[in-house]
Assembly symmetry: C2
Homo-oligomer: 198 residues x 2
């Protein structure tokens, strides 16, 4: 992620996940889904709706997905800090969230406490294309299939909105992760390019 | 552009320009800029505002840029037909234009007649990122520096909105074109990826 930190002075980052592992959603109410031990499978994803609930087998820890964009920005900043992203002005983060087409957050719930453990958002023209940004899973929750579940939830939501072209910019070490989800790098030699001021 | 036509059944295309050459803007009113013969230079771009006017030296043909998104969709379809793109439902094109952050059209004016000769739009989170889509210059108007002028106008507009990360997906044969404008392919190995349904 050095590129993002240096080139854009911390104003842009998270174009690919620092960590891809496990994830699910939070909602004021949610459906519950059984999970294999330590693994969030695609079956944990809801057929419809923006809220779902998963539970780690054999524990009282639950994990939720939410599309509610009324997030505590300090909590989001804390999550981004945990994966080493440089800080961005909260005013701009708030604006970016407001103007994203889809925002997905992932929450762990232990008893009465909930914790933001993952995040992703997508910009879109609401018709053809969506582009994913700020994909992140907290390091403590990586390696459990939650990143995959987060992405599958997000893809499902975008597909339900009739978006057929989903794009992203992936760091080299997560290209294979995205490939397993059906993302193709450079199809027919098409290059992702980034504008850099003179 | 075969990939876009085949993979996404014509629902997505124009992620890179079919033709990159010359361009300027239309507005109900506009400033006029001198031009070198057959070449639209960067000096033709307005310092601010969404409308500008350029004139091909030694002719009564003028070229305008506009950010007005109230376009005749049939005229836009005709432009896209001219570069061989497969047709998209106008209902979705309309929606995509409505929900784009920035729409730039390029017009040729001969006397009382005006003609749409170029187009580009950008999705954005209004804060950090913008992604360019549907970049097109009519084949009759390529090779005159208008594509470059169109892109410079667009970049200037995005920069004026404090967008610092401008991205696009370029066909191999236009990567060098975008490079001259300051776009970098795969910086630090970051890959543009596209989701493809199973």
């Amino acid at each position: 992620m050095g590129f993002w930190k240096n080139l854009f002075s911390g104003s842009v980052r998270g174009e690919s996940p620092e960590a891809m592992a496990s994830s699910v959603n939070y909602g004021a109410s949610g459906e519950e889904f059984p999970l294999g031990a330590g693994e969030v499978s695609s079956q944990t994803l809801p057929d419809s709706g923006s809220q779902s609930l998963s539970r780690f087998a054999g524990s009282n820890v639950r994990v939720f997905f939410s599309t509610d964009r009324d997030l505590d920005l300090y909590e989001l900043e804390e999550l981004c800090d945990a994966v080493g992203w440089s800080r961005r002005p909260l005013r701009k983060v708030k604006k970016a969230i407001q103007h994203s087409f889809l925002v997905v957050s992932m929450w762990e719930v232990r008893g009465a406490k909930r914790r933001l453990i993952g995040f992703c958002r997508a910009t879109s023209d609401h018709a053809f294309n969506a582009t994913l940004w700020d994909v992140v899973v907290h390091p403590d929750y990586q390696g459990k299939g939650l990143g995959k579940a987060l992405m599958k939830f997000l893809i499902k939501k975008l597909r339900s909105e009739d978006i057929s072209n989903i794009t992203l910019f992936a760091d080299p070490h997560v290209v294979d992760f995205y490939r397993t989800l059906g993302f193709m790098p450079d199809p027919e030699g098409i290059k992702g390019m980034f504008w850099y001021p003179d």
